[in-house]
C-alpha cells in the first residue's frame, strides 16, 4: 500500500471520473466511439488503479471477488438471453425487432442489452484475472 499523499488524493479525485467516462463510453456508444468492450476495460482499469494505490482489500470492498466472478457468466447470459428473448417472441435468434412495438426501437433496445452483457463479462473477466494474479503473487 502506498503512503504517498499525492498519489492517494490524486487517485481519489480521478476515480469517479474514470467510472463516469466508462459509463459515457458505454451509453454513448450508440452515437460516438465506444461500446461494451471499451467500457468494460475502463471499468476494470479503475479497479486495478484502486488496488494498486489503496491495496487489494479496498478494491475488493468495492468490487467483491464473488460478485466479479459471477459477472463473467452473467454477461454472456444477458447477451444470449437477449437472443433467446427474440426467439421466444417468434423471431430468429438475436433478431431484436420484436423486443419493442416499433422494430427500430426494438433494435435499439437489443443493442443496448447486448452491449450491457458485453460490459458485464469484460469488466468481470478483467477484474477477476487481476485478482487472481495478485493473489497468486502473494
Amino acid at each position: 500500500m502506498s503512503l504517498d499523499p499525492i498519489l492517494r488524493v490524486g487517485t481519489k479525485l480521478i476515480l469517479p471520473f474514470i467510472l463516469l467516462f466508462a459509463l459515457y463510453v458505454q451509453f454513448h456508444g450508440d452515437y460516438g466511439p465506444g461500446g461494451g468492450f471499451q467500457a468494460g476495460v475502463i471499468t476494470a482499469g479503475m479497479v486495478v488503479l484502486l488496488a494498486i494505490i489503496f491495496g487489494l482489500k479496498a478494491a475488493q470492498r468495492i468490487a467483491p471477488k464473488g460478485l466479479v466472478e459471477r459477472m463473467i457468466p452473467l454477461g454472456v447470459l444477458i447477451y444470449a438471453g437477449t437472443g433467446v428473448a427474440g426467439l421466444i417472441m417468434g423471431q430468429n435468434f438475436l433478431d431484436y425487432s420484436v423486443l419493442a412495438h416499433d422494430p427500430s426501437h426494438g433494435h435499439e433496445l437489443g443493442i443496448f442489452l447486448v452491449e450491457a452483457g458485453v460490459l458485464v463479462t469484460v469488466s468481470g473477466t478483467m477484474t477477476a484475472l487481476f485478482y487472481a494474479f495478485v493473489e497468486r503473487g502473494r
Binding site: V25, G35, Q38, V118, A128
Partner: protein, 176 residues
C-alpha cells in the same frame, strides 16, 4: 509508422522482459494513434484501453510471478530468419493484388457495407454504424467474442488457482 518500426526493433533487442512489456505498451499506444489517424476511432479506443492499458497490467502481474530476464538464444536462428523473410516477402507481394488504399471500388465496399451504412438509422436507430454492425448485424460474432472472453477468463483463473492448491497440497504431504 517510423516510431512503430523503431519500437519493434527495440523490443527484439531488449533482453529485460520488464523493458519488453513497457515497449509493447508503447507500441500499442502508437498503434492507437495510427488508428485515430485512419479514422477508426472505435478500434483505436480498444487498442489504447486493452493493448496499452489492461494487457500491460496483466503482463506486469505475470512478470511478478516469474523471473524477468529472457534467456539467451539456445540455437542459431538462420532457418527461422529465412522463414520470416520469406513470409514477409510473400505478404508484400500479396499486397500488389489489393485495391489501392482508400479506394471506394474495393471488393469489401461493394458487398454488404453500403446496405449497413444506408439502412442503419432506419433499421436500428443507432447512428454509429460500428456499434450497429457489432451488436446487431453481426450479433452472432460478438456473442462468440464474448464467449471467448468468458472461456479465456475462466481458463486462466483455473490455471492460476489450481496450481496454487496443488502446491499447497504437496507442501502438506511433504510436512507429513
Amino acid at each position: 509508422m517510423t516510431l512503430l518500426a523503431v519500437v519493434t526493433v527495440a523490443i527484439i533487442y531488449q533482453r529485460s522482459l520488464f523493458g519488453v512489456v513497457i515497449l509493447a505498451s508503447m507500441y500499442s499506444f502508437l498503434m492507437a494513434t495510427l488508428l485515430v489517424v485512419l479514422d477508426a476511432v472505435d478500434v483505436a479506443m480498444t487498442e489504447a484501453s486493452v493493448g496499452a492499458g489492461v494487457s500491460t497490467v496483466f503482463l506486469l502481474a505475470a512478470l511478478h510471478l516469474i523471473k524477468t530476464t529472457e534467456m539467451g538464444p539456445i540455437r542459431r536462428h538462420t532457418v527461422p530468419l529465412l522463414v520470416a523473410i520469406g513470409t514477409g516477402a510473400v505478404l508484400v507481394w500479396g499486397t500488389n493484388l489489393l485495391p489501392p488504399f482508400g479506394s471506394p471500388d474495393g471488393v469489401i465496399h461493394g458487398h454488404v457495407a453500403p446496405r449497413y451504412i444506408a439502412d442503419t438509422i432506419r433499421e436500428t436507430n443507432v447512428p454509429n454504424v460500428v456499434t450497429s454492425v457489432l451488436a446487431d448485424y453481426r450479433g452472432y460474432d460478438t456473442l462468440g467474442e464474448t464467449t471467448v472472453i468468458f472461456t479465456a477468463g475462466i481458463g486462466v483463473m483455473l490455471l492460476l488457482r489450481g496450481g496454487r492448491r496443488r502446491g499447497r497440497a504437496a507442501e502438506e504431504k511433504a510436512s507429513k
